[in-house]
């Protein structure tokens, strides 16, 4: 359990820093732009316009990604909870929120940032991601990601090297199966690297510590998890960016 706690926490911290590193100016600018767009959207609503602003779209995507991040953080946290679960439901609720309260929001923020960054980078590089762009593939990707976490939490490995190698292979397989883009790989590597560095720093400063550190201060499989998480969230973000203009419509057709 603490493993995941930390990992969630690290990830969130990482992406916070990431967002600062990557695009501090852009971020400020986009914040201002967001505010502007909010104002304009309000105004346009006042004037009865039906045209949605693109930034509102961005916010909506961010919200969806945030929710996904929070949800995944909670669930993966639970996945790592050890077996000795008591029978009383109130304690289950306690384990559900056993981590610090800020972990899920941070994970959500991280997911939102990474998920928005992917399509952004795609459009900047001018190579839109066309490989398997459909929701079924995204779902598959999420399932594989959860499976990787599952494996890291529940399987008994002979030693840490084996565990790390297996997870690394799985993560690469995830990327190859669902992404196959250079930008995705680069961003995933970047996420993993930054997240691991920040985790190291945090542990070094004594904010947290790992039970069985085998890679300086942290577990060696941590980068793999970060990498696959980044790829997964990026996948979701790209899909959202693709469909979000018609997202509203989707939910109409889906149930008709």
């Amino acid at each position: 359990m603490p493993r995941l706690e930390e990992h969630c926490w690290r990830r969130s911290c990482t992406s916070r820093v990431e967002s600062k590193n990557y695009s501090r100016e852009n971020w400020v600018a986009s914040k201002a732009e967001e505010m502007m767009s909010i104002i304009t959207s309000v105004l346009s609503n006042v004037y009865g316009s039906l045209y949605s602003v693109q930034t509102a779209n961005l916010i909506r995507r961010g919200l969806v990604l945030f929710t996904v991040g929070v949800f995944l953080a909670l669930v993966l946290n639970l996945l790592q909870v050890q077996r000795n679960v008591t029978l009383f439901p109130e304690e289950v609720m306690a384990t559900l929120f056993s981590s610090a309260w800020w972990i899920p929001p941070c994970c959500g923020t991280a997911a939102a940032v990474v998920g928005l960054l992917y399509p952004c980078i795609d459009s900047h590089l001018g190579e839109p991601h066309k490989f398997k762009r459909e929701w079924a593939s995204v779902m598959r990707c999420i399932a594989v990601f959860v499976g990787i976490n599952h494996a890291s939490a529940k399987l008994d490995f002979a030693n840490n090297v084996q565990l790390s190698l297996t997870l690394a292979a799985l993560s690469l397989g995830l990327w190859w199966t669902f992404d196959r883009s250079r930008s995705g790989f680069g961003l995933g590597i970047g996420t993993a690297f930054l997240a691991t560095v920040i985790t190291q720093l945090l542990v070094y400063n004594g904010v947290y510590q790992y039970t069985y550190p085998d890679f300086l201060y942290v577990r060696s499989w941590l980068p793999c998890i970060f990498f696959s998480g980044g790829v997964t969230v990026g996948n979701i973000g790209r899909q959202l960016a693709m469909v979000s203009p018609r997202e509203h419509f989707f939910f109409q057709t889906v149930y008709s």
Binding site: Y51, V75, R83, N84, L96, K130, D156, Q162, R246, S256
Partner: protein, 1262 residues
């Protein structure tokens, strides 16, 4: 040829043959596949059912030895968990105590006070029992399970449960096993109750733990009828010592003999507990399943263009699931026992195996040409995808093989399952799914046969009857002003958000479905965990009926099986008991009665109403294994208090030691507490039963109250949300006034808009051709009359031929003055009625039957001649192709018939003469007029040649102020739009001009015989071309060249492509210097406009081309009769994408920068992504409309319907507004729709034109 290519070809050929095989013998193959699935799943029967219920195994006590850890081969029925010592041995001492004989002086508390009091002496006896034989001295202390500490969370149980030492529980624990505390306790029941948890609990309660029998059986109650107290002393032993236990048993039996006891003592039961699944583990599991279902949902949603989406989706899921089952079955068959938690890895297995291949197969098969045979379609689809399927499969196998080398046992096992699953999935795809697909496609073909046949024949139905059978009864329309969209999903006009949410809930019946699913799951859980003892009850019923019934749950044969369930405290064991006859009953033993029983026959006290004076203590088979009636969480929870988990381990339950206690009334009185007598005497017998079931009543009452509250709440919610009273407005809904605003079913009317159509009246017959250059608007009706309108104001500028001049001498220019306000409704309707068959016969513009008047004339025009029998004459006999090639333009001369009909149906309607005061030839039937007009020379015959009034105008184009009109006689005429004079004409061609394109100074004419003529318009005064007409309007339309009237305009045939197409050219479009033609011969050709050179011949359709779109950005889209839409690259001539979207012809195609919009004969409007060719969504329209499309701006689509035009938001697919063109919208479909540059649209509406401005877009453009 490389090896790879050869391999590829071979695979493709093999798949082709396989597809033929599958489609040829569907039924035998499906049978074979099902048989093989069943065969592969057969080994699964030997696997234990998954579940969390405990499993038990019975052995004999006598030769019991602790099983060894090593598996010892096959030991018969010995389960594999029966290895090693158990966690603990449970030895229960079952005490039944009663005060006998019962004295009337006794108070109710006496029933249980003194019997409970005896527990302390018994405890002492057990604790102090020492067995001494040769090998040494053994006591309970040495044998029992030593516990150390309670879990920290259980402080409140600290006083009750033993905290260290032997785990020995009994009711005495309530009083810390101290007699003094017991004696000084004023209210025993309160002490017992204060430890009970509040609320409903399904798990074992403390009372169950300490008493060891279900609450109802203890008899510790003031209202006990039997007056027998039952409880157990439970010893948990760490090790087994047969001699000590038998000596203890003998000792207790000796002290407290139970003479009538015939309990079996030779069997011990080992109970194995499965892993407990807590909430914390359930949540990730549920999440993975949710992801799995989302995956399946999103995958199967892509199945399209098949007869039964649901059926195929089901087949796909069945394919994957049964391949998994097969894989597990095969692995089991070859000796591998699954050790992984099946429920956990199952979602991952499904995701790994995936549904992709199935979808790819479906898509590939569906996109084969529809006109092929089913067999061939399947075979082609299979072979198209064969290479990618094989490649994918090989890749996946490789990946999984890599996983196999991780050398982690769990991953290896997973990979093994996945490999076998993949292979069996491939097998099933090839045999099962392909066959199902072929059946489905065949069904679709059969179903479409009726629909498609007329459409494919390309044959105009001679009678104005329905095109498709399903149209035969015209859809009932509530009122002519309601547009009936078929799917309610698209009926949402701009509703308020909250209403949308509510409608969404209502539409999808979400709540209902949730409740349904919840109920099903709940029932499933109930049946699975069986808390109500249903299975025990059933078993009891069965055993009662069977002659071999040896009674209840105890009679289960000692083999491996799911435990028959432990009835929980909430269960109904009483009923079980009442149906259970005492097993000893058939052979009543004399000992089967307690002491002091005065010879009363075996009168079962349960059946007697009066309380027996002497409480009976009877031992039955149900006492043998009393623990079965406890909750199955009983033992796990007891052990979990001491942090010992029973998951995946087992305990051994030893046969109970029966102890019977008889206490004398005197003893009972002695042990009485002073306060005991304050209890009221036992209430009357009637109420005896009630308290036991009081909880039930309480629950029922609470549930009822909650239900009522919920109903009230919902009612309030309903009142708040729906302020309208539907009941009162129901009548108004049914029959709305004419001219009312459209209103959807929810009673919501859109805000009254300012969009009102401007009707341009003047044509006497249905409008055939419509052309516009933004400023001017030219229309041509069936009568051959061309009118030119100002597109901004709607004024009629010119009428060609100029018989209007003639008429104006008598009545002036009456049409354009009072045309749309004063004129009666009767006139256009009359003429419409008269010319109705003409409109319904042939589509002159495109040469094949797109437009049909499908709605019969309403009864409104009873006084009009019914012309239908007159028309249905000579078209039936003509073969379709012949008709297409030589359209019977002249054969359509029904003038005589009409005339005759009119003569027969004298008098004509008065409106006719009122509208035509001049009594010109117009008042007669149109063809007659046409003929008469033919002899009138045009007043100003300026140009060379004479206008041809005999033949009809089939195509018309307008550029600048020149109107190019192509006639059925093959003549091309150029008219001055402003002056109405014929500028030139060209009679080079003989065959009728079916389509015209007018671009710059070139005119392209497509003729009926498939030839294509390029004309050049030369103006002698070259400056005239440079004159631009006036300042540009408020719209930013490109200025049109203007030809002044002085210029001599000549039109020369520059090039004639004789055999541009093999069959008639149906579509001709020109843009961006290219001319694109589409023909019945399935091809599209691209010509360069300058030198009329054929650049490409685009092949790809399997039907005649019906629609083409090309714009300045060189995007070319074509739609055909096969329902396919192709996107082409005009520069290279390559096909960008090819999609099937319609069943039946594509009638219209429009592109925006991001999407392609198509409409088809199936009344469907599809919106496609332009770059990827993915269908974004589709709109199902009312039957018989949707043939015309227009795009006003990037997000505003306009479609023509029956007497109305509808505006759609392209981004969301929402219907924004429907504009009704006139009062008489009966059956007048909008067939042509032209979007003008100034954000207005013009559409034909019978004999009228309708000019609709779209205000919002106007603002935006400004």
């Amino acid at each position: 040829m490389t090896v790879r290519e050869r391999l590829r070809e071979k695979i493709s050929a093999a798949f082709y043959r396989h597809g033929l095989l599958c489609a040829s013998y569907p039924v035998p193959i499906i049978l074979f596949t099902s048989a093989s699935i069943l065969a592969c799943c057969y080994p699964l029967l030997r696997l234990p059912l998954p579940g969390t219920g405990p499993v038990e195994f019975t052995t004999r006590v006598r030769d019991y030895t602790v099983p060894s850890h090593e598996p010892q081969g096959d030991l018969g029925e010995r389960p594999d968990w029966y290895r090693g010592p158990p966690v603990a041995y449970i030895q229960q001492v079952l005490v039944k105590a009663a005060v006998s004989p019962w004295d009337s002086t006794l108070v109710p508390v006496d029933v249980f006070r003194s019997p409970l009091g005896r527990v302390f002496s018994l405890l002492e006896e057990i604790r102090n029992h020492v067995h001494n034989d040769g090998s040494g001295v053994r006591s309970l202390e040495a044998l029992c399970l030593q516990v150390t500490d309670l879990l920290p969370g259980l402080r409140r149980m600290q006083t009750v449960l033993p905290e260290h030492g032997c785990l020995l529980v009994s009711p005495g624990n309530y009083w810390q096993n101290q007699r003094e505390l017991f004696d000084s306790d004023p209210d025993l029941l309160k002490t017992v109750h204060q430890h009970e948890p509040k609320g409903l609990h399904t798990t074992a309660t403390l009372r169950d733990l300490l008493f060891g029998v279900p609450v109802k059986h203890t008899g510790v109650s003031l209202y006990s009828r039997k007056r027998v107290v039952t409880y157990t002393i439970t010893m948990v032993l760490g090790s087994y010592d047969a001699r000590f236990l038998s000596s203890l048993r003998a000792r207790l039996r000796q002290l407290h003999p139970s003479v009538n006891c015939s309990l079996r003592e030779d069997q011990m039961v080992h109970v194995h507990f499965k892993e407990e699944i807590g909430m914390a583990e359930l949540i990730p599991l549920v999440t993975t399943y949710i992801i799995l279902f989302a995956y399946i949902y999103f995958s199967t949603r892509k199945i399209d263009m098949v007869k039964s989406k649901w059926g195929l989706a089901l087949a796909a899921v069945v394919t994957v699931l049964s391949s998994l089952l097969m894989s597990v079955g095969l692995c089991t068959l070859f000796g591998l026992t699954p050790t992984l938690n099946g429920g956990e890895i199952f979602p991952y297995l499904v995701v790994v195996i995936g549904l992709e291949n199935v979808l790819v197969l479906t898509k590939s098969v569906v996109s084969t040409p529809v006109d092929l045979e089913v067999k061939l379609r399947i075979a082609q689809g299979l072979s198209n995808e064969s290479w990618s399927i094989m490649k994918n499969m090989a890749t996946e196998l490789c990946i999984i093989l890599i996983g196999y080398f991780t050398l982690v046992p769990a991953i290896q096992e997973f990979c093994l399952f996945a490999v076998v699953g993949l292979v069996s999935d491939f097998f099933l795809q090839m045999f099962f799914f392909t066959t199902v697909l072929s059946i489905d496609i065949r069904r679709m073909e059969l179903a479409d046969l009726n629909r498609r046949l007329p459409a494919e024949a390309g044959m105009p139905l001679p009678k104005p009857g329905p095109l498709r059978p399903r149209e035969a009864p015209p859809p009932p329309r509530p009122s002519p002003h309601t547009i009936t969209l078929q799917t309610p999903a698209f009926r949402n006009l701009r509703l308020p958000k909250r209403l949308r949410v509510v409608y969404f809930l209502a539409r999808t019946r979400l709540a209902q479905r949730f409740i349904m699913v919840g109920t099903v799951i709940w029932i499933g859980i109930l049946a699975y965990t069986d808390p109500a003892g249903l299975r025990t009850y059933l078993a009891a019923q069965v055993s009662e009926q069977s002659p071999l019934g040896e009674g209840g749950a105890g009679g289960l044969p000692p083999h491996l099986g799911v435990a028959p369930g432990f009835p929980g405290p909430g269960g109904d064991p009483a009923s079980t008991l009442s149906v259970l006859p005492a097993p000893a009953e058939p052979t009543p033993l004399p000992e089967n009665q307690s002491q002091g029983h005065h010879g009363a026959p075996r009168d079962v006290p349960l059946q007697t109403q009066a309380p027996p004076l002497v409480p009976q203590i009877s031992w039955g088979a149900e006492d043998e294994e009393g623990w079965r009636k406890l909750s199955f969480r009983h033992w796990p929870s007891l052990f979990s208090y001491y942090n010992i988990t029973l998951a995946k381990r087992y305990i051994s339950i030893l046969p109970v030691i029966p102890v019977t206690l008889h206490l004398s009334p005197r003893e009972a009185i002695e042990t009485r507490h002073p306060q005991d007598t304050r209890h009221p005497p036992p209430p009357s017998l009637k109420t005896n039963d009630l308290p036991a079931d009081l909880t039930l009543y309480k629950v029922a009452a609470l549930g009822l109250a909650a239900g009522v509250l919920l109903v009230l709440l919902l009612f309030c919610l309903y009142r708040v949300l729906c302020s309208r009273n539907y009941g009162q407005n129901g009548v108004a809904h049914g029959r709305r006034r004419r001219g009312d605003l459209p209103c959807d079913d929810y009673g919501y009317s859109p805000p009254i808009s300012e969009i009102s159509p401007l009707l341009l009246r003047g044509h006497s017959m249905d409008i055939e051709c419509l052309a516009s250059d933004g400023m001017l608007l030219a229309s041509c009706c069936l009568a051959g009359q061309i009118r030119v309108w100002d597109a901004q104001t709607g004024d009629c500028l010119t009428i060609i031929p100029k018989h209007g001049l003639r008429r104006s001498s008598s009545s002036g220019c009456w049409e354009q003055r009072d045309g749309w306000d004063a004129m009666g409704v009767a006139e256009p309707e009359n003429l419409g009625g008269g010319t109705e068959p003409g409109g319904g016969v042939f589509d002159e513009d495109e040469g094949y039957p797109l437009r049909r008047r499908t709605t019969p004339r309403p009864a409104l025009f009873e006084n009009q001649p019914d012309l239908t029998p007159l028309i249905d004459t000579n078209f039936d006999s003509q073969p379709p192709s012949h008709l297409l090639l030589t359209p019977p333009r002249d054969g359509f001369d029904f003038g005589g018939l009409v005339e005759r009909a009119y003569l027969e149906h004298e008098p004509p309607s008065p409106g006719l003469t009122a509208s035509y005061p001049s009594s010109s030839p117009l008042s007669g039937p149109p063809p007659q007029r046409r003929r008469s007009l033919g002899y009138i020379q045009p007043p100003v015959p300026q140009g060379q040649g004479t206008p041809d009034w005999e033949s009809a105008v089939w195509a018309m184009e307008l550029r600048g102020n020149l109107i190019a009109a192509g006639r059925s006689s093959g003549k091309l005429e150029l008219w001055d739009a402003v002056e109405g004079s014929l500028r030139c004409s060209n009679e080079d061609g003989v065959s009728g001009i079916t389509a015209l394109a007018f671009l710059n100074n070139r005119i392209v004419a497509a003729r009926l015989d498939g030839s294509l003529d390029f004309f050049t318009v030369d103006i002698n005064k070259p400056l005239g071309l440079l004159q631009y007409r006036g300042p540009p309007g408020r719209s930013n339309m490109p200025p049109s060249p203007c030809y002044s009237s002085e210029d001599v305009i000549s039109c020369q045939l520059t090039r004639s492509v004789q055999c541009a197409h093999q069959k008639p050219i149906t579509v001709l479009r020109a843009a961006a210097g290219r001319v694109v033609t589409g023909s019945q011969d399935h091809t599209v050709r691209v010509y360069r406009l300058e030198d009329s050179c054929c650049l490409f011949t685009l092949q790809g359709h399997s039907g005649g081309i019906t629609a083409i779109y090309i714009d300045q950005t060189m995007v070319l889209a074509s739609g055909g009769q096969d329902g396919a839409i192709c996107l082409w690259d005009v520069l290279t001539g390559s096909r960008v994408s090819h999609v099937y979207g319609h069943r039946g012809d594509v009638t219209s195609l429009v592109c925006t920068t991001s999407c392609v919009i198509s409409s088809g004969l199936d009344d469907l409007i599809c919106i496609w992504d332009r770059s990827t060719g993915i269908k974004l969504y589709s709109i199902q329209q009312e039957v018989g409309c949707g043939a015309s499309l227009g795009v006003i701006s990037e997000s505003l689509l306009v479609t023509g319907g029956q007497g109305c035009v509808s505006f759609w938001d392209l981004n969301f697919g929402d219907l924004l507004q429907t504009v009704y063109l006139g009062q008489s919208s009966d059956g007048q479909g909008v067939r042509q729709l032209v979007v003008l540059n100034n954000a207005a649209i013009v559409c034909d509406f019978g004999s009228e034109l309708s000019l609709v401005y779209v205000p919002s877009v106007l603002e935006k453009l400004d």
